[in-house]
Symmetry: C2
Subunit: 192 residues, 2 copies
């Protein structure tokens, strides 16, 4: 019997991580997100901050790769992908859980009994949220969101060959800005 | 106070219409589907009188326009769009309801208090369903689905300038093949 996993992909600032944590708490299962990144860091020897950043860049970075070398054909980022894939598969094997980000929906296809989720919200709602949660920055919140959106979309596309945000890749997609965090959590709990 | 409307966009064979009908029945509101709206448009005359009312879209008199060089550039489909749009706005004005298809989500933006829904399912589940519901045809169910998918996507794109099936256009998107019709209905009822 395969473990029941919820995977959450989310737009930056949509509250997807909060929804993941609250859903996991209600279901009494662990939620992996930051923990996953730290575990990756331990195994790879890279710093957590570096991994977090790399996780959101599309891997092709021509001249830099040329300088740093791709002796085994794998960039640092490719190696991280391999590691993170391994860790996600291990976590899914261990027991029911919620996994936020890291293309877990794609990695666990056919490997676990997943409820795959996409959380999004409009620019205005997300801008409001990132300022509240992460504070002000020199760039406008809209610019920060557009940058993050681009990075996540191209990372996802590169490693999964699927379109980020296409409803058809997910069992359920919710607009957290319109529905609110609580309704998203109760919907996921009842669909689990 | 604007009326509360559920709009359902759906892939052919995903059971979106059934979900719309059952949700409406549970909520005790009417459900208007594509056929009904087309019928309303036809009954309304789909005719010069009705269209002339629209001022800028008038007149509907193809060969005369061609002769006088006063063609307004509208195809029959455009005129049907205009009519359907008018009917959908009237239905939304009349009271709470469920509207299936016809880009109602786009038409009612800012005009009503909508819960916008997209229902989809994978090819295999939809193929199974269309054979059961609509019977066998000379073409394979997969070919019928691909044709319908293409048409709906291009219709939607043409009239809304948005991408069909992009999760970010909808408050909620559900995979009816994975979740089942009943869970989709109960989710929509509880989100309404």
């Amino acid at each position: 019997m395969k473990n029941r996993i919820i995977t959450i992909s989310r737009e930056f600032g949509s509250g997807g991580r909060t929804i993941g944590k609250e859903t996991a708490a209600k279901l009494g299962v662990p939620c992996y997100d930051q923990e996953l990144i730290e575990k990756l860091a331990e195994e790879s020897g890279f710093a957590p901050a570096y991994i977090q950043e790399q996780g959101e860049y599309a891997p092709y970075n021509g001249w830099l790769n040329a300088l740093t070398g791709r002796s085994n054909g794998l960039t640092n980022q490719d190696q991280l992908w391999v590691l993170q894939r391994k860790i996600i598969l291990e976590l899914a094997e261990k027991g029911p859980c919620v996994i936020v980000g890291r293309c877990a929906d794609f990695i666990l296809r056919g490997e676990a009994d997943c409820l795959t989720v996409f959380i999004h919200a409009d620019m205005e709602k997300r801008a409001e949220r990132i300022v509240k949660v992460y504070g002000e920055r020199p760039e406008t919140p809209e610019k920060r969101l557009r940058d993050k959106d681009k990075r996540r979309a191209s990372y996802y596309q590169f490693y999964t060959d699927m379109t980020w945000g296409d409803a058809r890749h997910y069992d359920v997609a919710l607009d957290s800005g319109r529905l609110g965090i609580d309704k998203c959590v109760s919907t996921l709990v009842s669909l689990y």
